[in-house]
Amino acid sequence: MGDVRSVGSVPAHLRALNARWVACGTCDALLQRPSLREGQQARCTHCGSPLFARKRSHAERTLALMIASLVVYAVAVMYPFIRMERSGISNQISVIDSVSVLWRNGMHLLALASALLILLFPLMRILLLCGLAFAVYLKQEAGLAFARVARLAQALEPWSMVDIFMLGIIVSLVKVGKMVDIELGAAFWGMTALVLFLTMGASAACRDSTWQYLRDRF
């Protein structure tokens, strides 16, 4: 039937199955679902991998960090990143310039991939996590749209590469630091803050609690 279903259509025996049992994603052990309090984490008794967690006030903390991320994202993208000067010639770049230089050199696919990895995917992830945390915080209904947003946010996680881009910038600064004079722009600090907030957001967000929120609405 594809994705199509109406809310509340999960059969009673599946609800009972999920209320009592849980399977380890790492080793496939079928275990009785432990009931956790906030701040606790369950481990698989067979392989020792984390089974699921209930992070403390995950929605509030994720929401706060994602809103902060959105603000510094705007700074990181709109303002100049670095200014360099040598022999009276100066040049300043923004994040977008480092993508468009690839395009101008004929590497269209790589430019496109970079735009996705460092601009679009991080932004989408921030917005999606914002939406999810907001829905959980306000105790909104959760149905197919909620599930789709949660799945997309999850799939985007490894492909959102702001942190790697930032380290790349630092490496390139070291490479040219001795040849030219470098001045750090507002976007550099915006991007630093963005990496910090996104990392904190990733550890504040709780996948398992979010999916449990969805299951509880059926």
């Binding site: 599946l14 790492t26 052990a29 696919l109 970079s114 197919l144 490894p158 390139s172």
Partner: protein, 196 residues
């Protein structure tokens, strides 16, 4: 007791259980299967694509520098060596680690994981789960060289004095990293425990 023995599958997106493997998850619509479909075949396909792309990624220049002194093209290893010449040892190590050590180790570990399952090689389960987690975590960091080149090429455009432009090798290198990430993602760690 394994879930598969009861005919129960775990949704790959939300982790909910279902007694109808192969049908979309009743809760979130995500894919469900007792085991990831053709996982070893996918692992090997992406692995091979990654290895093949890694070769031109290392042989062709990733960066071309034009200055008054002339034009020079540098490969990944060339970049590491020039950093060492400039006594930037820690950065040389970061680039060497991310662009050479991590990709090569990843190829070896993924191949070893797939082979242990294919040929039932005896290997400690916990060790293999750890190895898989490490490569999933660290693999994306190899993209760092791509961003270094993009940043340098954008920054160093000093008229006739010096210009840096990206070299074609960086395309192949980026592809190699992405294929290897997909290879690691296609691996189903539950297969490690199936032989018991």
């Amino acid at each position: 007791m394994r879930a598969i023995d009861q005919g129960i599958a775990r949704c790959m997106a939300c982790g909910s259980l279902t007694d109808r493997p192969g049908e979309p998850c009743a809760y979130c619509g995500g894919p469900t299967a007792l085991r990831k479909r053709n996982s070893l075949q996918r692992v090997w396909a992406f692995w091979l694509a990654g290895v093949i792309a890694y070769i031109p990624g290392n042989l062709y220049p990733i960066m071309v520098t034009e200055s008054l002194a002339g034009t020079s093209a540098s490969t990944i290893m060339g970049g590491v060596i020039s950093l060492i010449h400039h006594h930037s040892y820690s950065v040389a190590f970061v680039v060497f680690f991310a662009s050479v050590l991590v990709p090569v180790t990843k190829f070896a570990i993924i191949a070893w994981l797939a082979l242990t399952i294919q040929f039932d090689w005896p290997a400690d389960e916990h060790r293999r789960v750890e190895a898989h987690e490490v490569i999933e975590f660290i693999g994306r960091w190899s993209m760092i060289d791509v961003f270094v080149v993009a940043a340098l090429a954008a920054l160093i455009q000093v008229g006739g004095l010096m210009t840096i432009s990206p070299g074609i090798g960086i395309n192949a290198f980026a592809l190699s990293v992405m294929f290897t990430m997909l290879s690691a993602m296609s691996f189903d760690s539950r297969r490690i425990w199936d032989t018991r």
